[in-house]
């Protein structure tokens, strides 16, 4: 076989793979798909020859890499089911919930015992809001929309920071949770001390479950990511971290969706003066819906392989 033939075949493979990469494999005819497969096999075998000139080897490399990306692309159906991530993160979720609510309870008790502490723990803006007469009443749809955009950005950043900090060694994720829990507990303590605890509850009730739930989930994912390379089992640390990332990705996406859902509730519904039963029913409804969705995901994939 002359090298001119090699060069031409490599160029044909490259252009065929490029077209499939651009338009999708389904756009190629049956004969073209078969040709792509057979030419890829030929190219891999041909590249083993050391006699090939540089230009042909370079072309073969590029063609093989491009065709490999087309022929062995993972389909979306090969993604790890949500149930695998949920099972993996179950215990860590309990741990991060305990850290969040534990530090919240400690901060609340501390502020109730010594109200001056609130000046050290709670930002002045929040204290001013607690003391204000029109807490949460923003007065216009535009301002509610503006705050929704703000919450999207701020809460996604906080949740993702908890998640990604966990990669360092797990603990930083829990520290972010403890800090946020402490802040919420101190705010709750200040509000109760000033006699406006019911207004705080009315504010948190519509969006608290998805927003705090997402933060707790992200902390749990971060903790698991950190543990994955600290205790890699029989895998290499790098592979264990990548596996954890792949398995926990669907849970991270659920957390992102929860934050996205919580922001408009915080922007539009939280400032409303809802009847007391709505402030009780909305969080319960959130817990029931999220619990049922989790049960459904686990039921659909009983014993899904990790």
């Amino acid at each position: 076989v002359s090298h001119v033939d090699d060069e031409q075949r490599a160029e044909t493979l490259y252009s065929l793979a490029s077209r499939a990469s651009r338009d999708g494999l389904a756009r190629l005819g049956d004969a073209e798909v078969l040709k792509l497969i057979s030419e890829q096999r030929w190219a891999v075998g041909r590249l083993a020859s050391l006699e090939l000139p540089l230009v042909v080897r370079s072309l073969l490399n590029a063609a093989i890499l491009r065709a490999h990306g087309v022929l062995h692309r993972r389909s979306t159906s090969s993604a790890v089911p949500l149930a695998v991530g949920l099972r993996r993160v179950a215990m860590s979720t309990l741990l991060s919930a305990a850290v969040f609510f534990g530090s919240a309870a400690l901060a609340m008790v501390a502020v109730l015992a010594d109200p001056w502490l609130s000046l050290s723990l709670v930002p002045r803006q929040l204290l001013a809001q607690i003391d204000g007469d029109a807490w949460g009443s923003r007065g216009s749809t535009l301002s509610n929309l503006g705050m929704t955009l703000f919450y999207w950005g701020n809460n996604l950043r906080a949740s993702f920071l908890a998640l990604s900090l966990g990669v360092l060694a797990g603990l930083p994720a829990l520290l972010v949770l403890a800090f946020n829990g402490m802040l919420m507990g101190a705010v709750a303590g200040s509000a109760i001390h000033r006699g406006v605890g019911d207004r705080l509850w009315a504010w948190i009730a519509p969006h608290g479950v998805p927003e705090i739930g997402a933060l707790i989930l992200c902390g749990a994912i971060g903790w698991e990511l950190g543990l994955s390379w600290i205790r890699p089992g029989s895998s290499r640390r790098r592979d264990a971290l990548a596996t954890a990332g792949r398995e926990l990705l669907p849970v991270a996406l659920v957390a992102a969706l929860l934050v996205i859902a919580a922001a408009p509730l915080e922007g539009f519904v939280a400032p409303l003066a809802l009847p007391w039963w709505a402030d009780v029913a909305i969080p319960i409804a959130w817990v029931v819906v999220l619990g049922a969705a989790s049960r459904y995901a686990l039921w659909r994939n009983p014993g899904a392989p990790a």
Partner: protein, 234 residues
């Protein structure tokens, strides 16, 4: 770094070095900073001229919070693993198995960017990249992605340094056929003689189908090749 191909070969990937990745990151950061500044200034002007300060003020702040993760993610999703900086320097994010990175992988690597950036100037990311053989920052490690070069020079370097280490005996034969051959070669398997002979003929026929250059060879000759290539005694 080598990529194991299902066609029984190994291909070298042209990994992007620290320099190129650093310059690409600087270009992206400059663009994001410019865009963030533009958003804030535009928001201030809009708020003053339209009386919509309640909307554009917090909205602009929220948007700038999202920029460090959302900006690169959006570009990498739309441009198949390339941000403007990466495109300028002929770099691309791909999956560690050589296939295009999935949307989920791009999402993960950009979320973890928040930590790679800490405490400032990609310090954590730099440490991770320096200590990784495959120049992966933390986000790449979690998402199992690589950043490769796609420039002409990289191809020439690949041509100079790499060739697939494919076994000439095995190339082109699908893994399923080889798995069957391995089963038949397994000395621990007790297979009845007639059945074994029949299975060996079937495997040899399959090998001929995928390797036209072996059509003329007998079953015995093909099995001699298989034993040699699969490391089994004759």
């Amino acid at each position: 770094v080598h990529l194991d191909l299902p066609e029984h070969g190994q291909l070298q990937l042209p990994l992007a070095g620290m320099g190129r990745r650093g310059v690409a990151a600087l270009v992206d950061l400059a663009l994001l900073a410019f865009f963030g500044l533009f958003v804030v200034v535009a928001a201030a002007v809009l708020a003053g001229s339209t009386g919509m300060a309640d909307l554009v003020g917090p909205g602009a702040i929220g948007l700038t919070f999202l920029l460090p993760v959302g900006g690169p993610l959006l570009f990498e999703l739309v441009q198949s693993g390339q941000t403007p900086g990466k495109r300028m320097l002929d770099l691309r994010v791909i999956s560690a198995d050589g296939t295009p990175a999935s949307a989920g992988q791009l999402f993960l690597r950009n979320v973890v960017r928040l930590v790679d950036f800490l405490p400032f100037g990609y310090f954590v990311g730099l440490v991770a990249t320096f200590s990784s053989k495959r120049t992966q920052r933390l986000g790449d490690l979690v998402a199992a992605t690589l950043v490769i070069r796609e420039d002409a020079q990289a191809l020439v370097e690949l041509g100079l340094t790499s060739h697939t280490k494919v076994s000439q005996e095995l190339h082109g034969i699908p893994e399923a056929v080889l798995r069957g051959a391995r089963l038949l070669l397994d000395p621990m398997r007790d297979i009845e003689q007639v059945a074994r002979h029949q299975r060996e003929s079937e495997v040899a026929a399959l090998v001929r189908r995928y390797r036209p250059d072996l059509v003329a060879e007998s079953d015995e000759a093909i099995w001699t090749r298989l034993r040699r290539a699969l490391g089994q005694p004759a």
